[in-house]
Symmetry: C2
Subunit: 385 residues, 2 copies
Amino acid sequence: MQNFTFHNPTKIVFGKGQIAAIAQEIPADARVLVTYGAGSIKRNGVYGAVMAALPGRAVGAFGGIEPNPKYETLMRAVEKIRAEGWDYLLAVGGGSVLDGTKFIAAAVPFTGGDPWDIVAKGAEVKSAVPIGAVLTLPATGSESNAFAVISRESCGDKLAFSTPLVFPKFAVLDPEATFSLPPRQVANGVVDAFAHTLEQYLTFPAAAPLQDRFAEGILLTLIEVGPGTLADPTDYEARAAFMWTATLALNGLIGCGVPQDWVTHMIGHEITAMHGLDHAQTLAVVFPAVMDARRGPKRDKLLQYGERVWGIRSGSEDERIDAAIARTREFFSSLGVKTRFSEYGIGADVREKVAERFEKRGWRKLGERGDVGPKEASEILAYSL
Amino acid sequence: MQNFTFHNPTKIVFGKGQIAAIAQEIPADARVLVTYGAGSIKRNGVYGAVMAALPGRAVGAFGGIEPNPKYETLMRAVEKIRAEGWDYLLAVGGGSVLDGTKFIAAAVPFTGGDPWDIVAKGAEVKSAVPIGAVLTLPATGSESNAFAVISRESCGDKLAFSTPLVFPKFAVLDPEATFSLPPRQVANGVVDAFAHTLEQYLTFPAAAPLQDRFAEGILLTLIEVGPGTLADPTDYEARAAFMWTATLALNGLIGCGVPQDWVTHMIGHEITAMHGLDHAQTLAVVFPAVMDARRGPKRDKLLQYGERVWGIRSGSEDERIDAAIARTREFFSSLGVKTRFSEYGIGADVREKVAERFEKRGWRKLGERGDVGPKEASEILAYSL
């Protein structure tokens, strides 16, 4: 096991009716700016429940944070906060609202020039506005981690940043607040959580048996409850199990002391930036291709994944790996998420385009062994067409 | 799944050489009192590493915290701290040192009378001295939870208390700091972590599939690495896996949203108070008895435990439960921990004595269904003789 530090200070408040608990979690004298997306929270009652929990408080709102939240949009919030003096952000939404709010939180007090440098150049974040969260879409884990992914329209980039300063202070996870999600977002959420787990698990053995068991437990649970919660969105127990599982898939725990990959995500972000596919749509196409192209370096864990997650115990090693990849594709397909670029009308030129972007960013040492660059990304994408 | 709140603010610093990290974790101006046990840390180099990490700091020491830490001993530390003005506690040791230090931390600023009331009467703890930890014995999980169990010699009681104020701020887990542990303590640690997991898992189904998988993952890992780390104490990887697993067994995570039992612990504490058995020795005797006596109310989870943890799939339900209990006893025995009171020379009168203590404490509604009192405790112990 590698040395590690694990510190996740986010307080999780989970269950039915828990939106009311925000009253205890947000300081009474805070000036609270509620951040949200396209407005579905105003139709499904979540916005009303939030406002009902904060009577007499100083509360404002900033809506319109889009999927793959854009720097341009977020900077409007930054200007509003600087002008009006809001000092607490309450993100009400899914991963995009959360990620966008994290950028806003870091950008408001940023004095080192253009806040885009936080994302593009890793400029140091010295402070951030405190964040609370009411999660409405189980998927990204952003509600209890320190990561955010931000896009910029003007340059077509989609890039990540991380600082412990943007851990939400608390996150309310009420499964009922997610009942009205469209099926596509639920299916995407299952794929996203599955892929987050694979990025931290499907690498090489690292003498971390508990982390392996936990990762396999997450994958098995997603397989167990994913199709059911998609089919019956108001089944409380299935949705609750999915919601908690998606949080644990990326709260830092299963990544403790183990190598991590994240090549699928890096490629996927470029695809979203170029072609506009949903984040999870890119993952469902790229991850099976990574498994196939990287079956050499990932061999031991692919065999373990096949056996423990899918019960594959017979055949040669390559047959078992083929079967594990096939079962992964079938699982994503069963959720209605495509696993080939051709199904989206994207051709073989995606290989070269992604390689060029890797080249431009100087990405030559990605993946758990630091051996994935432009050429390897192109090789991976040969299995994704 | 039941509603729950999960908030574990302890920062874990894990791995070789990490004792040096306490320099960054403890405020530079803190007046640090190091608390420890019988002095093994002075022989194995851990005390030296701690002191080497804090050059020029104000550091004192209070040793002699015994297994099953005693109120009488701990109050001497409280008086020392009040007299000398120490304002940060660094617990260096195992669960007893940690639990004792938590009591000290809560007792120092306690103004509501005798601090024993915190334990005996649930008196409110309004503040506590901050605690850091250097763990030398993987077992109790006390390094990242809010619980402590304290004994009082004068009345022969062993009782628990809990407050979020005593969560350690940080805990250093260096597997090498545990290499010199005697085998009995390592074996006890494996049993303790196994029992902690069962208390939160072996109840009744609660639509919490991920918590089940995580609990099973902990049990499987303890079975996988427990005997090896006992046989070869300097095998870093096995010890590291065991150490991290023992922490996760009782940091609050697997207990989120599920019913919990803890009857085995409540009975075990009385046995330790009366007969002086090690904590884990009592658990290894009582837990198989709880499984046997409570096979009705625990039936579904006993079958799941047998199948997923021990691979028991054939036979009638009762045959499978018998097999699961037998495998549990065999596992504890394989670690050198006895599973019958007769092996300790304790006779059948233990049943009545424990029942009397339950009666005295008014414990009539223990266990995951709130249906265990003096009579049921006696019935359980019939299977432990």
